[in-house]
Symmetry: C2
Subunit: 591 residues, 2 copies
């Protein structure tokens, strides 16, 4: 037997007991006549004691050979500590060691196994099995496991059935790029790995499963931006015979349950915000509503006063940064302007106004606008003395996006994104379609299976181009603190409507049939009204823990080139594998 207890459980009540522990050597402290050793496992740390009085010479010498991360088993007696450590749960006791087995030695690790390590990202990824020994990473993975089982308990309790959908499915050019898998038994043909189980969960609704869920791996072969992974996990759900509000109620319930059960946080009811309002008030479809600083449109006050920049702009819009007037020198504001002008944001410039304590104003546009004019702006923006107004202008959509970045940056600087403060909301009534001028066709804003709002269904079947542009989707996103946790929609369940949507999206009838004939066919055999949602599971774990990166919630993540640097994958395959798959590499031809 390797242990009678783990390294986190011994307390004063165990004093006097003979126990066996196994674990890793965290560190040793050799005082000559006595030596202490911290033994670590997943459950905690226990102090081991060796001293000249009670420890045999042989055992003491053996203990002195131990290095960090050696794996050992010890037998000994639990004794009360002379000087207690109230920072760890086992801090009142230590083990007087009577027997020691070295189960495995360890080379010196390439970085320290501490909460704050000296290892860089690349090294930690190469030795991920050592990185996971560090408590922050280990606790993130344990947290994830906890969220997963609580999600399942909640959904199962609500009558959802977890159904595994296949991973070897069919490649469809629509949407993101598929990972494909050559089929040996079907020469020249490929499976695709699912980008989501979308069509399968819809078929499960046609199949009468009524309420489906799955915590499921999904795959996208996209160029990897920071914090994107080629494989990621979703909490995927679908319900039959539901309206939008029933879906929202269910998954608001799930979210509240998870925060309560896992983090002991009670969330208030989630407000609904229309997409158009979100864009107008925050310039984003995922507003961080932990703080206000809402957009204020100034077209009526700021245009046609002779300032050509504003006069030529489609939109003049600003935010009021409370109490920031004194904090920003001219140089600070120049730096902020340059920050906004970086290519990532691309603002042409930044107009600022300081509201002075005496009611006067200092601004970059003083020669174009009277204090009277600017007072009107300040009033519309609810500015008080000491506030700083930041104003952008230009093409409406672009300007809103830029101001969104500025609002978030100011929120960060002003400490308004409080950790532990969670502000969820539902964003609803997205546009159904986006017009792609270049391709001369629409894109689905959500995906091709999203239903328009009930009142827009007839318009969609019979409307003109302008009507199509203005169709609203019966779609919804859950946003928490500016992060999109997930989204979904009520789906189309009518063959004619689905065919019309495919047509708008540029599918010929033949293409629609070849790629989605099974779904169109299923709609002819009694498809019920249905809708669903998917949460980014890696994402919700990170947000709940107040973290911005999903990396530590994934046991074995890939780098930005899609590589697992630990196992060194992907890698070359041998000629026999190519032959069996009826493939030839052209990679060398390219070089």
């Amino acid at each position: 037997m390797y242990r009678t207890h783990n390294c986190g459980e011994l307390r004063m009540q165990h004093v006097g007991q003979e126990i066996t522990l196994s674990g890793w050597v965290q560190n040793t402290n050799d005082l000559g006549y006595m030596m202490f050793l911290n033994l670590r496992d997943r459950y905690g740390i226990t102090q081991l004691a060796f001293n000249e009085e009670n420890t045999s010479k042989e055992l003491f010498e053996k203990a002195r050979t131990l290095g960090r991360e050696f794996v050992i088993r010890i037998k000994g007696e639990v004794i009360e500590r002379a000087s207690k450590n109230d920072k760890i749960p086992t801090g009142s006791i230590e083990i007087l060691v009577k027997g020691l087995d070295i189960l495995n030695a360890s080379r010196v690790p390439p970085f320290t196994i501490e909460d704050e390590t000296d290892g860089g990202e690349d090294l930690r990824m190469k030795y991920r099995y050592l990185d996971i020994r560090r408590s922050p990473v280990q606790q993130s993975l344990i947290f994830r496991s906890h969220v997963a089982i609580e999600s399942r308990k909640y959904l199962a309790g609500e009558g959802f059935i977890e159904v595994e959908t296949p991973n070897l499915i069919k490649s469809t050019p629509e949407g993101a790029r598929d990972f494909v898998v050559p089929s040996r038994m079907n020469p020249g043909q490929f499976y695709a790995l699912p980008q989501s189980p979308q069509t399968f969960k819809q078929l499960l609704m046609v199949a009468g499963m009524d309420k489906y869920f799955q915590i499921v791996k999904c795959f996208r072969d996209e160029d990897l931006r920071a914090d994107r992974q080629p494989e990621f996990t979703q909490i995927d759900c679908e319900m039959a015979f539901v309206t939008r509000d029933e879906v929202l109620r269910n998954f608001e319930g799930l979210t509240k349950y998870l925060f309560k059960t896992v983090c002991n946080i009670e969330l208030a009811d989630f407000p609904l915000m229309q997409y158009d309002d979100a864009m107008r008030r925050y310039g984003s479809d995922k507003p961080d509503t932990r703080f206000g600083m809402e957009f204020c449109e100034l077209n009526d006050l700021a245009k046609n006063k002779g300032f050509v920049v504003f006069d030529n702009a489609e939109l003049v819009v600003g935010i009021c940064a409370e109490g920031q007037a004194n904090g920003y020198s001219n140089k600070d504001l120049k730096n902020l302007t340059e920050w906004m002008q970086r290519p990532q944001i691309g603002a042409k410039g930044l107009v600022w106004v300081k509201v002075n304590a005496d009611g006067t104003f200092k601004s970059t546009v003083g020669k174009f606008f009277s204090d009277e004019d600017i007072k009107e702006w300040a009033e519309k923006m609810n500015a008080k003395p000491g506030d700083l107004l930041l104003i952008l202008s230009g093409e409406a959509e672009k300007t809103r996006k830029q101001l969104n970045e500025l609002r978030l940056e100011m929120g960060r600087r002003m400490g308004l994104m409080k950790p532990g403060d969670f502000k969820p909301l539902w964003v609803v009534e997205f546009p159904l379609l986006e017009w792609d001028e270049e391709a001369g066709r629409f894109h689905a804003m959500h995906h091709p299976f999203t239903s328009p709002l009930p009142e827009d269904e007839e318009k969609m079947l019979g409307g003109d181009h302008e009507t199509m542009k203005n169709l609203k989707a019966n779609a919804y996103d859950l946003v928490i603190n500016g992060v999109e946790i997930g989204g979904g929609s009520i789906r189309i369940h009518d063959r004619a409507l689905q065919e019309k949507n495919f047509k708008l999206l540029g599918f010929t009838p033949e293409e629609a049939e070849a790629q989605f004939g099974f779904l169109l066919g299923a709609f002819e055999y009694g498809a019920p009204p249905h809708g669903g949602i998917a949460f980014g599971f890696d994402r919700i774990c990170a947000v709940m823990r107040g973290q911005t990166s999903i990396r530590d919630f994934i046991a074995f993540p890939k780098n930005n080139m899609g590589r697992d640097v630990m196992i060194d994958a992907p890698s070359v395959i041998d000629e026999g594998q190519y032959e069996e798959l009826y493939l030839r590499s052209t990679a060398e031809d390219e070089v």
Copy 2:
């Protein structure tokens, strides 16, 4: 709103209530002046009533247009039925319909949506979304979901952490054939889909996760025999600082918990059987112990009596089929012999002995053996008058396998494989290595990471060829009713032992390093002793439900050519996809 209740929940207590239901038209019974309709959803069936007295003419006419599998929503009043149906839970009430919406029409389904359908396998797979509407399939999927969540609850309760391991990993030629996934970002390189998370779960032990589990999809590109699927699901587990018996205790606990919670069946403690005993007594490493009919070896009694077939045989071995002497005519025995001689089994012949009521014998070998001789066999086999002895001879291993088939066949015929009777056992101490004469190297009987028994470790590092052949693995299988539910082992956690094993398995040091260098490296940084197990999840679901096929426990299975005939996958990909992946098809060159 689509419904106030589902189709399975209305009872006498609801009589008088105005309700809304939605579901599928199961069938209608039109008596002219009145009409009944069974409305179905996942939860049950509710009878709807229309009659000339209470139903408007318009509504009645509309109801008459409904066909099977139409999706409808009705409003109405719950009333007591005149003639009750005690076969269904809602059988005391019916709904007097007052409003009817047709939510979706349905074409006539290609097969009947009934427990016993008229649809063949191929048709049901093509229209799997209709097949799943059938209660037996739907209930199998619900059962599976139930087993999954109970497995998770149990393992989480025991301190196991569910960790998701990656699906895009590294191809290794060892073992079964990998599915591979070309990497667009790494030209000429491929990921592999995991055949199991074996190395990752071992790394999680090195990482200090202590107890890991995952219900996880695995992939094998094998030629598909009946009831094999290219993607299948495992309950995958690993534990650090454990001995074999601790692993067995944990997973015996899981199995008992599942049978108790999901099926309300109490299982007795699982006996342990050594591999050698299982082979000797049953000719199989997965014996069905619901019945005895154990092998009886007759070498000492039957050889060297002048019957050349036995004299030349390595092994003479038989079973005693209780009370079957009278049931088998000479013709029946001839048929049975021919059944044994089919190529699938390949027996040369079958010796039979009938033990007559008067103590005499009738047999195929009467001219070679005296009644005295045969009496000795009968005594050794514990045969009573009326029993039938069935005896095979030949090369030992082959003969045992053949007799195993015969024993199982006789068990089936004699009704000894009782449904509802579950006889689990652990088979332990498998051989570590199998010698492959042709390849001139050993194969791993379990996998290359399996540890020998502790007492065999030193032999392995220093032994000769004969010693290697006789090494025992610290491996175990859980067998229930002749089905291998899963298996596992204590793993090697020492670099030198692992290198030795790779060498025995024919790896050069360079190959071992290229394929498993990350694991060998991990063993140098404090790898703890560890072991684990994996259960076939599809399999355990089928066994628990007393079914032999896993097909209905998989929502969207593939056929024997690896095809999903519903979505028609795999399929061709376009030229652009080939180019992006640096691949060219040679499938056409082959034609």
